[in-house]
């Protein structure tokens, strides 16, 4: 993989697909690395997209600043990567921590994007997320990367995915443990210590925005995605059935298909955001269905919407 030099740092990236195609930039979550998007690259490149994957600063093989790094540094790195893509339409998609970075990018540089995808993302730290984040940070400090992995795996993935993987879990964890340095993860988590909510700035995002939220996402539940849906004007929320926070790992075929369809709809002028709410199919190939309008999509049980 080549490296981009920016601001004194080296960022490892990979660009695949036809030079003339619309581009997708995919942003990792915490503890992730670029290779986890390989299936997405294959699917999207087959549909004539260019796909840019990279390691965030502090992760994978990109530079890991020893002490000082903030979320604006990540945004600046994406700006430099987007510059590599030239004039064509660019779609930016991020998961979890990467979703937050993508959100910041869209607020600062929305004019460079054709569309934004928010996956398991958030614009503010709810009390639950704040306390969970603090607990994860403490766990990382006291127990190291492997403890954080032990915490995140059952929190973010379903039994259906974990069950068959139980025998291979140590090998899966080892790859992530080897590639992540604990000091760099501590620096990334410390970048939340002075976090200020972005909610008031969401209205400035004028581009089409698709928001994806796992049905059972415990870490960033529906309410956090609702903040995005309610405040980003041209957005739509799609609920991924039976999925948790890390549905990009669990349902790559379905998610890649949703990404491709979103971009195609935007480019063909068929995208209808408008704050609508949808339900994705269980697997790739199915239909995206409107969420029943008479029910409250914030509830886990079928409660009718309050009439206003």
């Amino acid at each position: 993989m080549p490296f981009l030099s920016h601001g004194g740092h080296r960022i490892r990236y990979e660009l695949k697909g036809p030079a003339s195609g619309p581009a997708y930039v995919l942003v990792n979550g915490l503890t992730q690395y670029a290779e986890l998007w390989r299936g997405y690259c294959d699917t999207l490149v087959a549909k004539k997209f260019r796909v840019l994957t990279f390691d965030l600063l502090g992760q994978g093989e990109s530079d890991k600043p020893s002490l000082f790094i903030n979320q604006d540094d990540q945004v600046a790195a994406i700006r430099a990567l987007v510059n590599l893509l030239g004039e064509g339409p660019v779609f930016l998609s991020g998961i979890s921590f990467g979703g937050l970075i993508a959100l910041r990018y869209a607020i600062a540089h929305g004019g460079t994007l054709a569309g934004l995808v928010q996956m398991s993302s958030f614009a503010e730290l709810s009390p639950q997320l704040l306390l969970l984040g603090n607990a994860m940070r403490t766990g990382l400090i006291l127990g190291g990367t492997s403890y954080l992995q032990d915490l995140l795996l059952p929190m973010n993935l379903s039994d259906a995915w974990l069950g068959p993987q139980l025998k291979h879990l140590e090998a899966i964890k080892r790859q992530g443990w080897l590639i992540n340095d604990v000091y760099a993860l501590q620096n990334l988590m410390d970048s939340f210590l002075d976090f200020e909510a972005l909610t008031d700035r969401l209205g400035s995002i004028r581009i089409p925005t698709m928001i994806l939220n796992g049905e059972f996402d415990f870490l960033t539940p529906r309410s956090l995605h609702e903040t995005l849906r309610a405040n980003i004007p041209d957005s739509a929320l799609i609920i991924i059935p039976l999925a948790y926070h890390a549905f990009t790992l669990e349902k790559p075929a379905l998610t890649a298909e949703l990404l491709a369809k979103f971009a195609a709809d935007v480019l063909s002028g068929q995208w209808k955001g408008g704050g609508s709410v949808w339900i994705a199919p269980d697997e790739a190939g199915g239909e995206v269905m409107p969420f029943p309008s008479e029910y409250d999509h914030l509830r886990a049980i079928p409660v009718r919407k309050a009439t206003t």
Binding site: L142, V182, Q186
Partner: protein, 197 residues
């Protein structure tokens, strides 16, 4: 060159020469931190933050003595000049841009501790097949486990409010110590056939 220690012996142990060279480096580095902390920690603690110094002193001492006891040492005639170069590297260095000498010494100590615990990942050198009950293997894992908390202690100190005005100097000192430790660690590993990933 491989990214891991080995080839392992039939019981999953690391070759003694590799053990000797890795352990000597770790004893030198953590021993240097222990010595500097011993000098910097008063006999009677008067401030809350000094309890952290006391704790770090004992963690560093534990790491050095653990490596001394858990290693299968063999004669290694190259160690004399290697140890000399390592020990020279750990000596206190002035931090540019910090006028207060004692403050500069403290920043350099924290920067060195951060680098030794962050840039060195001894457990990541172990292949999957390493014997989990081998004392040398366990010692390497123990050091990496302890490092996480000790790194955070340095982060809290180096990012503290009293250093906001000299943040650039602090950052330079930490980056320089990281580069120094990384270079020495990688050169030592290369000398025993291990290439850092």
């Amino acid at each position: 060159m491989t990214p891991f220690l080995g080839p392992l012996d039939s019981s999953g142990g690391v070759p003694p020469l590799q053990q000797t060279r890795v352990a000597a480096f770790l004893v030198s580095a953590h021993g240097a931190l222990a010595r500097r902390l011993a000098i910097g920690t008063p006999l009677t603690l008067k401030f809350g933050w000094q309890t952290e110094l006391h704790s770090q002193l004992h963690r560093e001492t534990e790491i050095a003595t653990l490596m001394m006891r858990a290693t299968s040492w063999v004669a290694d005639f190259e160690l004399a000049h290697l140890c000399l170069s390592w020990e020279t590297a750990w000596l206190p260095k002035p931090v540019e841009g910090v006028a207060d000498w004692s403050q500069g010494v403290l920043i350099d100590l924290a920067a060195l501790a951060h680098a030794i615990h962050a840039a060195i990942r001894p457990a990541a050198l172990l292949p999957v097949e390493a014997n989990a009950q081998d004392p040398f293997v366990l010692a390497l894992r123990r050091i990496e486990f302890e490092s996480s908390r000790l790194i955070q202690a340095q982060i809290l100190f180096l990012k503290g409010p009293e250093f906001v005005a000299i943040r650039g100097c602090v950052n330079t000192a930490v980056e320089r110590r990281h580069q120094q430790v990384r270079d020495l660690w990688e050169a030592m590993l290369k000398s025993i056939g291990v290439q850092c990933a």
